[in-house]
């Protein structure tokens, strides 16, 4: 039986594979670049900045926020070693002002909290036999996260740890709050960041 044809086909197929292999080897390299520092790494940095701001704003202390952020960064780098989270070495600045908190890293990541409020009137509430004067404010509140995604706004929920304020959400980031008339009143967002309302 003549098997020359079969061998020819097999040889041709083999040649095709060899040619394909050669082409692959000769092809220009196609690097699969994976960014070392991307959204997740920036999000981790912002997450700890938010924790630090929560503590600093509660104590109304920029230094407290700096100290806590330094502590959290040290812990984050420990985990970074173990789990290869690709967190780059960073430096940062923390600044607090009237109605804003800001943390900026030197690696395209930052966290800014902003709130403004305007007095719009007052009312009284009856608590047993005592009537309490409440001041009503229009509150605007948002977080701004900057990172490789450029920026993202978040409108966290606001609540009153003391349970005395009247809080009504009007729109994203807009609230009508009624707080007992006092020198200052503290509200909090769902990340634990304090908003100080000076009445």
């Amino acid at each position: 039986m003549n098997r020359k044809g079969q061998f020819l086909i097999l040889a041709a197929i083999l040649l095709c594979f060899v040619l394909l292999g050669s082409l692959m080897a000769l092809r220009q390299p196609n690097p699969r670049v994976m960014p070392r520092y991307d959204y997740l790494q920036a999000a981790e940095l912002i997450h700890i900045a938010r924790l630090a701001v929560a503590r600093g704003s509660f104590h109304r202390s920029e230094n407290e926020a700096k100290t806590y952020l330094s502590y959290l960064l040290a812990r984050l780098y420990e985990y970074n070693e173990t789990y290869k989270l690709r967190i780059p070495p960073v430096s940062y600045s923390v600044s607090f002002g009237n109605g804003w908190y800001n943390v900026t890293y030197n690696v395209s990541a930052g966290f800014h909290v902003h709130y403004t409020y305007a007095y719009i009137g007052n009312y009284t509430k009856q608590a047993g036999e005592v009537s309490i004067v409440y001041y009503r404010f229009e509150l605007q509140y948002y977080h701004n996260y900057t990172g490789p995604w450029r920026y993202a706004l978040l409108y966290p929920d606001v609540w009153d740890p003391a349970g005395q304020a009247d809080i009504e959400k009007v729109a994203d980031g807009e609230w009508i709050v009624g707080v007992p008339a006092s020198e200052e009143y503290r509200l909090e967002d769902n990340f634990g960041i304090s908003l100080w309302i000076r009445t």
Binding site: R3, L14, F17, G21, Y39, I48, L51, A54, R75, A152
Partner: protein, 107 residues
């Protein structure tokens, strides 16, 4: 003669299978891992407190295979060619309470 023919067929089969395996295993689109990481970045940004159910449901939705939260492993799907995405929450609401999450995601 038949032996040579068989050897040729075997050689071609081996070359084909190797090529197919390499093509399948190592040429997944490079941006899969980055995309999955970006999805979890959204979770880290939006939530301070780790809600395990939310994280598990989210991982299910994006086709993840398992979730490991501080060593507690939840198997969601079988996984043949998955890669891990690691991230952590260091705390919530002014408290330090680290929670390490490892998620396996398939391309």
């Amino acid at each position: 003669m038949r032996a040579i023919e068989a050897a040729f067929i075997a050689l071609i089969t081996v070359i084909f299978l190797s090529y197919a395996f390499i093509s399948y295993s190592f040429t997944a689109p490079s941006y899969h891992e980055v995309t999955a990481e970006r999805a979890y970045a959204y979770i880290v940004l939006n939530y301070d407190y780790l809600d395990e159910h939310k994280l598990i449901n989210f991982t299910k939705d994006i086709g993840g295979s398992f979730v490991d939260i501080n060593g507690n492993k939840y198997n969601l799907n079988s996984c043949t060619n998955c890669y891990p995405v690691r991230f952590l929450w260091l705390g919530y609401n002014r408290t330090y309470n680290p929670c390490v999450v490892v998620v396996a995601v398939e391309p």
